[in-house]
Symmetry: none
Subunit: 267 residues, 2 copies
């Protein structure tokens, strides 16, 4: 009988709904989460605060009740070592690596064996903003017809979670074993505990401080520099040790710059 | 780019919604059909006749407009050579063969190469009746948790059609696995011209200068810090553009640190 047994690592997935407009879609997402055994919902700035009463969450009221609310994406993904954005856009020039859902799901399942993973879904109208995307390591797309790319939010969540739950065995399958070796072969022998999104956010902030203290950051470009830096760091695949190293170096520099600002050279 | 090209045989599929209560679900089904390139909707005895105006059919009004209405399941499936029922029930004693969605989709794709196939979805409350089921050759089920089997109708249609459209090549068996590129081989959308080792070396040097200028680099540990930094940068997979961005930021910081050193604060 084809019943799904939710794997223990499913408990490490965070479904993050960003700026969702229609609470019915939050309910629909919760229902699909419950269907497939992913029970941790995070909500960033929903348009309607009363989403917990969404009637569409048939059988999934406990998922809605336990949903966590966050004011920013940064806080919602802080404890995750992999942050994946979803997009309907197949053609726009994206600054991120874009994976087919099937490949993306495989990579997510692999990471779930060791750390938390966030999958972000944007608002019904606009999807994820550039600022939202800057928190993502890479993007994933449901393959649709070019003529009709925009998938309903509740359906998109359902399809992604179906694909994630579909065949956990396939990570161990014979085909994946032969095709995926190159990726794992790159990994060095040492500790590869990945950096969390919060680590990357700290590096970003310290770097911004250092730039500001060196008078090389204009106020109007600060936000875009922050986004650009964050996006790049997410692509760099930092380990926790890397993140610590970066933070250590940049902190010393920032501290020095700030302290020399406090006692400016007399001319 | 992961765009779906609907195969000619997709034109032979009939999505049949039986006794649907909520017209929004008919609209949602139409939208998913349009997303995945299955354009023939059939409706048997919907509770609300005005389903063609369903606002949930975003971008799929043509599917709704072309939908055919039938008074009975028999008439709705008359021209099909294979009739497949969907069910949420995994445990009830069913008088039909029950297939996992993935296996079922494979069989449907195979049949579509030669004849029409109907996939039936029952009402939100009760699913397909025994009478409806009697028209089916076999049943198909989306694998869900035993604790929460009931999938929303619009989401069920979306998942089934995603699975049907997902990988038409897989009907040809294991050879497709070898033709598929590994996940890492996929090119992201933007320019991915990699940074050169020289780029990385420049970043390393500027960083070292900045650290020295901020008095946070001891002479005896300079060499090991340089090595550690270089090794990390090589692991980060920088693009040429990334390297330029890093150099730009670090140069400004290093310059500022050095210039404040040249004119030390008088105490």
């Amino acid at each position: 009988m084809p019943t799904l047994s939710a794997l223990p690592e499913f408990d490490r997935l965070r479904v993050v709904l960003v700026a969702t407009r229609n609470p019915l879609n939050i309910g629909a997402a919760a229902r699909a989460m419950s269907n497939f055994g992913f029970l941790h919902l995070r909500v960033v700035n929903p348009y309607e605060v009363a989403f917990r009463e969404a009637r569409s969450a048939v059988g999934a009221s406990s998922v809605l009740a336990a949903a966590e609310e966050f004011p920013t994406v940064a806080e919602a993904v802080a404890d995750c070592t992999l942050v994946v954005g979803t997009t309907a856009v197949g053609s726009r020039a994206l600054r991120h690596q874009l994976r087919h859902l099937e490949d993306g799901a495989r990579a997510i399942r692999k990471r779930l064996t060791s750390g938390n993973v966030a999958v972000l879904f944007g608002s019904e109208k606009r999807g994820l903003s550039n600022e939202d995307l800057s928190h993502c390591d890479w993007l994933m797309r449901i393959p649709t017809r070019e003529q009709h790319e925009s998938v309903n939010l509740g359906q998109a969540v359902a399809i992604c979670l179906y694909e994630l739950a579909r065949s956990p065995r396939s990570t161990k399958g014979p085909t994946s074993a032969t095709t995926r070796k190159p990726a794992t072969a790159r990994e060095p022998a040492g500790s590869r505990k990945p950096a969390t999104a919060a680590d990357l956010e700290r590096i970003t902030s310290i770097m911004l401080e250092a730039l500001a203290a060196s008078d090389s950051l204009q106020a109007r470009s600060a936000a875009s520099t922050r986004e650009k830096l964050r996006r790049m760091l997410h692509r760099h695949n930092l380990t926790a040790a890397d993140a610590e190293f970066w933070q250590g170096m940049l902190r010393q520099i920032a501290w020095k710059l700030q302290s020399s600002k406090l006692t400016p050279p007399k001319l």
